[in-house]
């Protein structure tokens, strides 16, 4: 095999939004002993929100608030906010997930309208308890004036999970927040028998697939992928 590790985190160069994060924020948010750093959603370590690429600023704010409740930042450690799951979705809506753009626009507007009519404020401005109550309503198709809300909820949940647990190449799972949460030991190009033992706990690699030289090339197919996967079959 000719794969060699790339010394630098190639994805940092490619993922423009992440490049704006100060280096200290790229260190593990979970302490070496495994103790998570507790903190509310507005923790100072949460990365700053950059301008959305596909959604409007208002839509992105609503989406970010939803993601923050689906996978919250809590005593278990970082959540969708630190993983930048909403930013992953925003970017993907301009590429691989573009067929869902209208669904998001309509769904986010309907949620905000529901928040206004029931709680008197936009979704992002509500308390977390009110936000959770509204999300439960749409999850159960019980939000007045919001038809098919459960389908929208399921779509956002699936994409928030993607954005939290995907390869960081796509702009989500920043700082491997998702993979560390569930103990995924990371991308390896080869795995030994010992590493597959029942009691083995391979150390996290904290590598993107595209950190490996073999996959960091620039063949045309991958160039298209780097732009968000806009290609046949999307």
């Amino acid at each position: 095999m000719n794969q060699r590790l790339i010394a630098r985190r190639e994805w940092l160069k490619r993922v423009g939004a992440a490049a704006a994060i100060p280096p200290r924020m790229l260190l593990p948010i979970v302490t070496p002993s495994g103790e998570p750093i507790p903190g509310p959603a507005q923790s100072p370590i949460a990365p700053a929100v950059s301008a959305p690429e596909t959604l409007t600023a208002g839509e992105a704010e609503t989406l970010g608030a939803i993601a923050a409740r689906l996978i919250p930042t809590d005593g278990n450690g970082p959540g969708a906010t630190e993983a930048r799951a909403a930013q992953y979705i925003d970017r993907a809506l301009g590429g691989a997930l573009s067929s869902f753009r209208d669904t998001y626009r309509a769904g986010l507007a309907a949620l905000d309208q529901y928040a206004q009519s029931t709680k008197g404020n936009s979704f992002a401005r509500l308390s977390t308890a009110d936000q959770d109550a509204l999300l439960r309503d749409i999850e159960r198709n019980e939000a007045a004036g919001f038809s098919q809300s459960a389908a929208f909820f399921n779509l956002v949940l699936a994409h928030t999970i993607q954005g939290t647990f995907c390869d960081p190449h796509y702009g989500g799972n920043v700082n491997f927040a998702g993979w560390d949460l569930i103990g995924y030991p990371g991308v390896r190009l080869a795995v030994s028998a010992g590493e597959q033992g029942l009691n083995a706990r391979p150390a996290p690699t904290h590598m993107s697939a595209y950190d490996y030289r073999m996959f960091s090339g620039s063949r045309p197919a991958r160039a298209a992928l780097d732009q968000g996967g806009r290609h046949h079959g999307d």
Partner: protein
Amino acid sequence: MATELKKTDVVIVGLGAVGGVAVLPIVEAGLNVVGLEAGTWLRADDFAPDELRNNYRGWPQAVQKANREIPTHRPNASSPNSPRLAIHPMMNAVGGTSLHYWAQSWRLSPWDFKVMSETTRRYGASRIPKGSTVEDWPFGLEELEPYYDRVEREIGVSGKAGNIDGRIDRGGNIFEGPRKREYPMPPLRGSGFTEMMTNAARGLGWHAFPGPAAVNSRNYGNRTACVYHGFCNRGGCHVNAKGSTAVTTIPKALSTKRLDVVTEAHVIRIDVNDKGRVSGVSYLKSGTEYFQPADVVLLAGYTYENVRLLLLSKSKAFPNGLSNNHGQVGRHYFSHNTGASVSALFPRSLNSWYGLPAQGVAVDNWADDNFDHAGLDFIGGGNLWIYSDRRPIGAASMSTFGRAPRWGTAWKTFIKENADRANTAYLQKTTLPYEDNYLDLDPNVTDPLGYPVCRITAEFKENDRAVGAFIQDKMVEWYRAAGAVATDKLPLGTMGPSTHAYGGTRMGNNTETNVVNRWGFSHEVPNLGVVGASVMGTSGARNPTLTAQALAWRTGDYLTRSWKEITA
């Protein structure tokens, strides 16, 4: 006007798992072949270990003609179409879906070839499910054995024989039919988890054994051994350890200089001359229409495309589609019942993040006719399969077994503790053809060129449901014996587009009920052959690919031996 190309001996439509095998005996016999493939060549460095791309986005790095013609589905003739899939379960490329398949490479059991006669003999004819159109195959396992053997060596299959010429070896599958010799490579290694499950099966008195895989357990020829990195499930192999036809039979065929591969060829029609014989194939490439004349056409697409191309190829001699003057194209369709599975939650980590779907352990005690069905209300059974294969998005999407909601802090607490404590079995069960399950052309849905797509009209029947429930109970028993604290029975699902789709051009001696003869050539058009699972009349309880490949080799071999007769 189409550009007419130079005539060739044989044109093969599709260079995937089966076309890529059929081509080899043909070129080795000295015939020239043009292979038309809708996809492109892909290389090892196209196969990044990327769950999102492989498992959620349908391979955007590849040209996927299939994604523009996804079959529609409706349960029965009076119901509307079900919601359409967004991604075709199969893929286009040189090597086809053998690039990203699981590579489980089973031989069918002897019973699978004789479901009708063996059921009648052992339990009486009344036990054949009502409405089923199942027939015995025109031959038994012993006739296919030499071709299984050849393909196992060409693509490289790892496994442990359980029955060599009647001698039973408990290291392998004691229920398998006789083989002439051992697999070319030993089985893939076990993992801690698969060993734990093996021990639990033994405790139940069941026979657990490593399954066969077209994945190298050691270096094989010029290809390296598997590295177990965990992205084989809908992923291509970055070290060429998976025996896709793109790295095995197709390069070997190319080395004869008698195979010409045309990529990004979109076949639109099989053409017929005024004698009712096929004259060649029409295809589009880069916006130009070409006509490739040939003495013989071998149709080697996936089941849905084989049927669709025949139905689209209408002519004076075949007004209802090629080789369809008996109305059998699209009939006897079925897709494997693999949906009714079981998930289990264990009180400990399983460390199953790495490995591959083919690195697993099977139990066949409840498959096929390996147990007495006298007191049961179904025929057939299922293969229980557990394996080590887990990736982060999939793990985070796991069932919470009723112990947590689907989101929020309670979910996060659950997933943090349990993401590596769950496992889902793969349960393949006997599924039969029925008179009202079939494929045809959708009257309303077309591809971007305006051609109707394939329509599936199919639903699971009583026997399929009964087998599913029985096998799920067995799997729950196995998981519980291994220490599972919770189990979930997953729903049966629908018979929408499947990776295990059978029939539609069934093989058989009866010209009234089958499209192709015992060699895979059309009963109505002597110089048209069909290869793929579309010729299979039963599924057994195991993956179809190796059987489809063995049949493909047999059809290709027959073609070379019967050239004069076929082209007369």
